[in-house]
């Protein structure tokens, strides 16, 4: 998602040498949860990224660790979009499906482009597996795949044959079939397998037989592509133009964890993470627990409440407190977020949203926790909210959340989601020296010389109160959840004081907008009548849809919100400039409700809760229809 905007059509040119040039392709690897499809997808992503393609990925896996083998619920998949130009989404419809068993074919076929390519491992197409997947007859034989280009190959059999020399049982030998498939696909798309071979060597260093078998399978798959007549052509997808610099590929959860580590470095504060495992946020806890070298303490608490409580206690002591969770965990943390609002201490609450309500769809994406983040507390308890728009952007969003928390002495909620968490894209590795500094500005003495310390006196510009940490003589004070007297911070039941404090806490959060730039509106034609506005991970689909709409000759403007509370100061004006405002969301219209309430704008929604990113094709249609209505 970097480089020059892409505006042309997808082009396919066939060259005489049997190499076909493609502008982009969407490949989906699908198999049983135990087949290693996530790893396969990951490696192909890495190979393509190193090659210089732009990439966007969509892992999709069941909530069950090991659903029964060969069944429909047990299917795990990894979709990846690679292109010679800047792309924004992992793609709606795969061009190529690699299916390791009948269930994987059944579950994924419906998404495949008509005429697309299917590579299946015939080994698993036994009567038993076919019936497990609900097939009455073998689709490889009954003509039901006639609309597709099918390569039916005994991947397992060839894998076993290729690793014969190693000391492995048949079952273990067959396990390398994902590497055989990867080798084959790598050949098809002209990708080098060296980085994967190096990766395998490192990963299985302790098990030489497994290591060698995997590498042998990878090579065998590649060679099979080269020697067999079955694949007439290879495809070539050139590198995408990108800004100069050093790149890596990164998932949202990793970028978020790195952002947290970086916020500790740029603020000079020790980082404390209090967290309780929950999908899809746990990887942030795992990652941060590796970075003690950066002064990052991770505390796996007894529950979500303890996780945020400990983080708040650490913040009280002058550390930068973080807690990471998903929607159900935020529900449990609500009371403590309210306490943090009252205590006016820095704290970052990361919510990696998943399908809800309740346990919902643990491994699928959704963006239905916006209103919970906004209002999910008792009393008037305003909390700034930020959201990343792409996997790599999670890094910047984490830094921004930490900056607001420290500058304004407030809890901040960061709303990521399951798609961002596990999706990946190329990331221009930032220069550490150029990262914005975060200034803790601890209180060191009472405000007026010898007078009593005023823990609730405020900074004139930000309305932030002093961060006075234990250990500093002369600043001893007590804070708590009871209402405070303005300035002194003493308990106060005074009616006018309460009215004032409620307003001050709101005003402080509103002032966050003062150092947030104007809303970025992408309106290249300058004459758009429809504005499409979104937040979070729907940036990709919305952006791709807007490009497609523009390519068809229709003007459309796109805005995307990093800050959801407070909104950028000019947002009301921006919304007024357009005839129609469309708010696509993976919820029933939560941002739309906020925009309508605040700006009295008649925004319309496009809402899908399928546990998957919004479909670009659908969005194109909705935008086009809406635009026609304005004429």
């Amino acid at each position: 998602m970097v480089g020059a905007p892409y505006s042309g059509e997808v082009t396919t040119t066939e060259s005489s040498s049997g190499v076909e040039e493609l502008a982009s392709v969407v490949i989906r690897f699908a198999g049983d949860s135990g087949d290693g499809m996530q790893l396969t997808g990951d490696r192909f992503t890495q190979e393509s990224a190193v090659f210089g393609n732009d990439i966007a990925t969509l892992p999709n896996f069941p909530a069950e660790i090991r659903a029964p083998q060969g069944t429909l619920p047990g299917v795990s998949s990894f979709q990846l979009h690679l292109a010679d130009h800047d792309i924004l989404t992992p793609g709606d419809t795969p061009d190529v499906l690699v299916a390791m068993n009948p269930a994987a074919l059944k579950v994924n076929l419906g998404d495949l482009r008509r005429g697309g390519t299917i590579i299946v491992d015939t080994h698993d197409f036994t009567d038993r597996n076919l019936s497990k997947a609900g097939y009455a007859s073998n689709p490889l034989e009954d003509g039901s795949l006639d609309d597709y280009v099918v390569h039916a190959i005994d991947l397992t059999g060839m894998t076993v044959a290729s690793v014969e020399e190693f000391d492995l049982g048949r079952k273990d030998a067959a396990r390398s079939k994902n590497m055989f498939a990867l080798g084959l696909v790598s050949w098809m798309y002209g990708r080098e397998t060296d980085t994967t071979a190096a990766f395998i060597s490192a990963r299985f260093a302790a098990a030489p037989d497994v290591r060698d078998a995997n590498i042998a399978a990878l090579t065998a798959g590649y060679n099979f592509g080269e020697t067999t007549e079955a694949f007439g052509v290879r495809y070539e997808i050139g590198p995408a133009p990108m800004r100069t610099g050093t790149y890596r590929s990164i998932t949202g959860n990793l970028a978020l964890a790195y952002g947290i580590v970086a916020s500790g470095v740029t603020s000079g504060l020790p980082v404390f993470l209090g967290s309780y495992p929950i999908t899809p946020a746990s990887d942030i806890l795992h990652e941060l627990s590796k970075h003690k070298r950066f002064g990052v303490t991770t505390f796996q608490a007894e529950d979500e409440i303890a996780g945020i409580g400990a983080a708040l206690g650490a913040s009280f002591g002058g550390a930068l407190g973080f807690t990471t969770t998903s929607g159900p965990g935020v529900s449990l943390k609500s009371e403590t977020i309210g306490l943090a609002v009252m205590l006016e201490l820095p704290l970052v609450v990361v919510c990696v949203q998943r399908g809800g309500p309740s346990t919902g769809l643990p491994t699928k994406t959704e963006q239905a926790d916006l209103l919970q983040a906004m209002f999910g507390r008792n009393g008037e308890a305003p909390v700034p909210i930020v959201a990343p728009q792409s996997p790599a952007d999670c890094f910047d969003a984490a830094l921004e959340a930490a900056r607001i928390a420290v500058t304004y002495r407030t809890p901040v909620i960061l709303l990521s989601d399951g798609y961002l968490a596990n999706g990946s894209e190329p990331w221009l590795v930032p220069d550490v020296e150029a990262l914005p500094a975060i200034e803790p500005r601890f209180a060191t003495a009472p405000q007026n010389g010898d007078g009593p310390f005023q823990p609730y006196a405020r900074d004139a510009a930000t309305l932030a109160r002093p961060w006075a940490v234990p250990g500093v003589a002369g600043l001893e004070h007590r804070i708590g959840g009871l209402e405070k007297a303005d300035g002194s911070g003493d308990i106060s039941y005074d009616p006018d004081n309460h009215d004032l404090m409620v307003r001050l806490r709101q005003e402080k959060v509103d002032r966050v907008a003062q150092d947030v730039g104007p809303t970025f509106v992408d309106d290249p034609d300058g004459d758009a009548r429809v504005l499409v506005i979104g937040w979070g991970s729907s940036f990709g689909p919305i952006g791709a849809a807007c490009r497609a709409v523009r390519a068809s000759g229709i003007s459309v403007a796109q805005a995307h919100l990093r800050h959801l509370n407070p909104f950028p100061a000019d947002l009301g004006d921006v919304l007024q400039r357009y005839d129609r405002v469309l708010v696509p969301e993976m919820n029933l219209g939560q941002l739309r409700m906020l925009l309508r309430a605040k700006y009295l704008v008649d925004a319309v929604g496009h809402n899908r809760m399928r546990g998957l990113p919004l479909h670009v094709d659908e969005l194109v249609e909705v935008i086009t229809t809406l635009e026609k209505e304005t004429r």
Binding site: G52, E433, L482
Partner: protein, 341 residues
Amino acid sequence: MTIELELTAKDFSSDQEVRWCPGCGDYAILKAVQGFLPDLGLRRENIVFISGIGCAARFPYYLDTYGMHSIHGRAPAIATGLATTRSDLSVWVVTGDGDALSIGGNHLIHAMRRNVNMTILLFNNRIYGLTKGQYSPTSEPGKVTKSTPMGSVDHPFNPVTLALGAEATFVARTVDSDRKHLTSVLSAAAAHRGTALVEILQNCPIFNDGAFDAVKKPDTKDDAIIPLVEGEPIRFGTDGRRGVVRDPEGGVRVVDVDDVGEDALLVHRVGLADPSTAFALSQLSGAGVLQQTPIGIFRQVDRPTYDDLAREQLETAGADTPDTKAALGALLAGHDTWTVA
């Protein structure tokens, strides 16, 4: 780390008006704490009191240290984060029986099993005071309160039993009105590394008056209090006529010393690795209206603390080494990069 500070009880009193009901046991505890804090030899600014919600939880407001009156039941969790990141602080938790054992039961047991450096003062009045008199998880069976007009059918927790079950490394019980005993137990608790849990029997004259009369009234006290003294045979009652022996069926029981002879009495040892004798002693209190209870330190053993171990890992990982920015640069780049020229 004793410093000549010459602080007095007054230095630890804040300017806030104390607002407990007249005659509340909390006053006596506050006085005792204000009186003994100067003896710790710690600077005021290095002491932090964290409380939950309840009458007891107002405590931090009245001490001129750092303090946080947090939310119901969560003080041990908050204290865990503070203690883990700030080894230089003396962290105290003040909590009630409802705060600690109902809503906050989970945090309490986990703090004790982890053995985080904090001293927990559990004010047990066997009632919900602040919410005006509902039964609590320490109320006796059959207790008639606003929410149990026909008597409570809940079996209560014994806080000491619970703490021992959670393998707390320091567990003690004392009484609000016995300042000397209170002070000596608190001093030992403060000196302990790890989590120290001190149950303080606290009278609530408004909603549960007389709950601890047995251990307070001059005429019953001697027969009700079983003093636990390190290295001493466990003996009590008028002229020390009663004592505690091991029960061959398991556990311990109270006997007449004349029946068994002095040598048969159980000698109290706080440092036993196995908590089962302490556990058995804690069961002498019974679940009903208090008639008899051991007072003193039940258990005091060494075990590495969570926060020390966590800090050690940071140190091992090189948290204090320079060139953090360069290290961050290397981390962000990772191993699989490519360059666009």
